[in-house]
C-alpha cells in the first residue's frame, strides 16, 4: 500500500479537520437546548442538501423539488412513530426506501425532460406536496399536522439530554452518509455520474448507460433527502409536530440556495450552505426583518454572478491564486522547470514560459 505523502497542505487540512471535529462534538455541551437543536436541524438539512448536490451538482439534473422528498421522509417518520408506535430509528429505513422508490418514479419521466423543463416539473411537484398532504388528511393530519413523540435517549445514554442525544445520533448518520457519498463520487460510478453532467452524448459514447445512471442518481438523491427529512423530525427538543407549512416550495428553494451558496459540486458545500440558510435569516431579521428576504434573494443572485462555485468554489480559487502568486504552485513550477530544460541549454537565462496551461 502506498503511503500518504505528508504535504503541507494535507497537514493543514488534517489539523483543521481535527479542530472541527472537536468543535462539532462539543457543541451540545456548550450551547443551550435551543441552539443545539438548531445545529441539529442544520445537520439534517445538510444531509438533504447533499442528496441534492448528488443530483444537481454532480449529475446536472436540476431539481427544485427536493423539499418534497424531505417531506416524505419527515411524514413517514412522523406517521409511523405517532400513529403506529414505531421507534424513531426503525422508521429510517422505511423513509429511505419509500423515497428511493418515489425518486426512481420521478427519475424515469425525467429522462425525457431536461434543464429548465425539469426544473419546472420539480417545481410543480414541490408545490403539489403540501396539497397532497392536505388531501389525504386522514393519514397525514392535514393542515394541523401530527404531533411527533419525543426522541428520548436510551438508558445507556441517560447522561445526555434529549437535544444532545438527537444531535449526536443525527451527526452520526450525517458522517456516515457524507463519507459514503464522497466515496461514491470518487469511484467509477461517480465519474460516470459527473460525465453525464459534463456531456451526455460524450458519456453515452464512452459506454455510460444514461438511463440507468440518471434514474439511479435520482433515486439515491431522493433517498438521501428522505433520510434528512426523517432525521429532521427526530429533533423533538424544538420540533414536536410536522405540518405541511414546513414542507412547501420554500423548503425546496432553501435547499437549492444552500447548495449553490456552499458550492454545487462539492461534498462539504451542503454543510456550509445549510449553516447559512439556518442562521443568516435569523440574524439578518434581527437587523431588519423586512429587508432580510430582499437581501437573501440578492445574495443568491450575486452568488451566481460572482461565485458560481459557491463559497467552497471561491475558497478553492483563492487557494490556487494565492499559491500561484507565492510561486509555490507545484504544477506551475514543474511546468516552468520542464520548459526551461526544453527551451535553452543556458542555465542562467530563465526563458519566458508563454501561454502555459493554468
Amino acid at each position: 500500500m502506498t503511503r500518504l505523502a505528508l504535504t503541507p497542505r494535507r497537514v493543514v487540512l488534517g489539523v483543521l479537520a481535527v479542530v472541527l471535529a472537536v468543535v462539532v462534538l462539543y457543541i451540545p455541551q456548550y450551547f443551550v437546548e435551543f441552539r443545539t437543536a438548531q445545529f441539529t436541524s442544520v445537520i439534517a438539512i445538510s444531509i438533504a442538501v447533499l442528496g441534492l448536490a448528488l443530483l444537481t451538482g454532480f449529475n446536472g439534473q436540476i431539481s427544485v423539488g427536493h423539499g418534497a422528498f424531505f417531506g416524505v421522509g419527515a411524514y413517514t417518520t412522523a406517521i409511523l412513530t405517532a400513529d403506529h408506535g414505531w421507534s424513531h430509528l426503525s422508521t429510517v429505513p422505511v423513509a429511505m426506501i419509500l423515497c428511493l422508490a418515489i425518486g426512481v418514479m420521478v427519475g424515469l419521466p425525467a429522462l425525457r425532460i431536461s434543464g429548465l423543463y425539469l426544473a419546472l416539473v420539480t417545481l410543480a411537484l414541490a408545490t403539489l406536496f403540501p396539497l397532497v398532504i392536505q388531501k389525504y388528511s386522514d393519514v397525514t393530519g392535514g393542515s394541523t399536522g401530527i404531533g411527533v413523540p419525543d426522541f428520548e435517549p436510551p438508558d445507556w445514554a441517560s447522561g445526555l439530554t434529549e437535544d444532545q442525544w438527537a444531535y449526536y445520533v443525527i451527526l452520526a448518520f450525517a458522517v456516515v452518509t457524507f463519507v459514503l457519498v464522497r466515496n461514491l463520487i470518487r469511484s467509477r460510478v461517480g465519474r460516470a455520474i459527473i460525465a453525464i453532467r459534463d456531456g451526455e452524448v460524450a458519456a453515452e459514447v464512452l459506454g455510460v448507460n444514461l438511463a440507468r445512471y440518471k434514474v439511479a442518481t435520482f433515486g439515491i438523491s431522493a433517498m438521501i433527502a428522505g433520510l434528512g427529512g426523517s432525521l429532521f423530525v427526530m429533533n423533538t427538543a424544538v420540533l414536536d409536530r410536522v405540518d405541511p407549512s414546513q414542507y412547501t416550495i420554500a423548503r425546496s428553494i432553501e435547499f437549492l440556495a444552500a447548495l449553490v451558496i456552499g458550492g454545487a459540486a462539492t461534498i462539504m458545500g451542503p454543510v456550509l450552505g445549510s449553516l447559512f440558510i439556518v442562521f443568516v435569516p435569523e440574524f439578518s431579521s434581527d437587523i431588519n426583518a423586512e429587508l432580510s428576504r430582499v437581501i437573501f434573494g440578492g445574495v443568491l443572485i450575486v452568488m451566481m454572478l460572482v461565485l458560481p462555485g459557491g463559497v467552497l468554489g471561491g475558497l478553492t480559487r483563492l487557494e490556487a491564486g494565492t499559491l500561484r502568486r507565492l510561486g509555490r504552485d507545484r504544477q506551475w513550477r514543474r511546468l516552468r522547470a520542464t520548459a526551461a530544460e526544453a527551451d535553452s541549454p543556458d542555465p542562467d537565462g530563465s526563458p519566458t514560459v508563454d501561454g502555459a496551461a493554468t
Binding site: 444537481t56 446536472g60 436540476i62 427544485v64 419521466p109 425525457r112 425532460i113 434543464g115 429548465l116 423543463y117 426544473a119 419546472l120 416539473v121 417545481l123 410543480a124 411537484l125 408545490t127 403539489l128 396539497l131 397532497v132 392536505q134 388531501k135 452524448v201 428553494i253 437549492l256 440556495a257 449553490v260 454545487a264 423586512e290 429587508l291 432580510s292 428576504r293 430582499v294 437573501f296 434573494g297 440578492g298 445574495v299 443568491l300 443572485i301 452568488m303 451566481m304 454572478l305 458560481p308
Partner: protein
C-alpha cells in the same frame, strides 16, 4: 347539463387569467430562450405600480399603460444587470438567479407596499354580457380574452412583419450568427425582457380585479400559467392563450367531475404538464426543437 356549461364558462374565466401570464412567459422564452420563474412576482410588482397610479386619480387604463411602460424599462434593466452576466450556458445559474429575483421582488413588494390586500379597479364591469339560461358570460371575461387576442395579433405582427421582430427571432435562433450579421444582440435581449415584463404587468392588472391585489396574487397562478405555456407551446403566443383556456377548463371540470381532483385542481395542471412534456414536448402550437448531436 347546465352545470357542465357553467363549469366550462368558469373554466374559461379562470383560463383567461392563466393565458395572460402565460403570454409573458412565452414571450420571454421565445426571445430569450429561458423560463423566468420570477415572471409572476415581477407582474405583481408592476400591478402595484398601476394600483398606486390609479389610486392617485389617474384613469385605470392610463395607469395600466404607464405601469407597462415602467415595466419595459425595469425588465430591460434586470436583463442587463442580472441575467446577461450569467451567460446562457449555465442553466442552474439562470434558475437560481430567476428564483433569487422571485424572492427579492416578493420581499421588496412586501416592504414597499405592505402585506394588505388591495382592491384593484375594474376596466370591464363584472356584469353579464350574454346569458344562456342560467349560464352567464361576463363582460370581464370577454374583455380579457379580447385584449389577449389583440396582444397575440400584435405580437404576430411584431415577429413576422417587423425588422425588430425578425432580429428577435434571429437572436433566439442563434445569437452568435445574429451578432455576426450586425444585430445588436444585447439590445434585443433587453427588449425581450422588457416586453415580457410589460405583458406581465398587463396580466397582473387583468387578474387583480378578480383576485384582489396582494403579495400572493401571482403565486397561485404561476404553475397554471406554466401549464398553459407548456400545453400551447413555449414559443407560441397563440398557444399561450389557447393553452390557458384549456388549462382553466380542465382545472374546473376535473375538480368538478373527478373525485381525485376535488380540492386538488393543481394536480390536474401538473398532470397536464407531465403528459405534454412526455408526449409532445413542443406543445400544441410550438415548433419541435431538433438538436444536432
Amino acid at each position: 347539463m347546465e352545470l357542465f356549461f357553467n363549469q366550462v364558462i368558469n373554466g374559461i374565466q379562470q383560463g383567461a387569467i392563466y393565458a395572460a401570464l402565460a403570454l409573458a412567459l412565452v414571450l420571454i422564452f421565445r426571445s430569450n430562450s429561458l423560463l423566468n420563474f420570477a415572471q409572476g412576482e415581477m407582474a405583481m410588482f408592476s400591478t402595484f405600480i398601476a394600483w398606486i397610479l390609479a389610486d392617485n386619480g389617474f384613469p385605470v387604463v392610463f395607469a395600466i399603460l404607464a405601469a407597462m411602460a415602467v415595466s419595459v424599462v425595469g425588465g430591460a434593466i434586470i436583463e442587463r444587470t442580472l441575467i446577461r452576466p450569467v451567460g446562457s450556458d449555465n442553466v442552474l445559474a439562470i434558475v437560481i438567479v430567476t428564483i433569487g429575483i422571485f424572492i427579492a421582488t416578493n420581499a421588496l413588494a412586501g416592504w414597499i407596499y405592505g402585506t394588505d390586500g388591495r382592491v384593484f379597479p375594474r376596466i370591464f364591469a363584472n356584469e353579464s354580457l350574454v346569458t344562456f339560461g342560467d349560464v352567464t358570460v361576463t363582460q370581464e371575461t370577454t374583455g380579457i380574452i379580447a385584449i389577449l387576442l389583440v396582444v397575440v395579433g400584435l405580437l404576430y405582427l411584431l415577429f413576422q412583419h417587423t425588422k425588430v421582430g425578425l432580429a428577435m427571432r434571429a437572436v433566439s435562433s442563434n445569437a452568435e450568427s445574429a451578432q455576426l450579421v450586425g444585430i445588436r444582440v444585447g439590445r434585443i435581449l433587453m427588449l425581450g425582457w422588457g416586453l415580457a415584463a410589460a405583458l406581465g404587468a398587463l396580466a397582473g392588472s387583468l387578474a387583480a380585479p378578480q383576485l384582489n391585489l396582494s403579495l400572493n396574487l401571482m403565486q397561485g397562478l404561476l404553475i397554471y400559467a406554466f401549464a398553459a405555456a407548456t400545453l400551447g407551446g413555449f414559443d407560441s403566443p397563440l398557444g399561450a392563450v389557447v393553452g390557458g383556456l384549456i388549462v382553466g377548463v380542465t382545472q374546473t371540470l376535473a375538480g368538478q367531475y373527478i373525485d381525485f381532483f376535488d380540492g386538488f385542481e393543481l394536480g390536474s395542471a401538473f398532470l397536464l404538464i407531465l403528459v405534454v412534456l412526455l408526449v409532445r414536448p413542443q406543445g400544441l402550437f410550438g415548433r419541435a426543437v431538433v438538436t444536432r448531436v
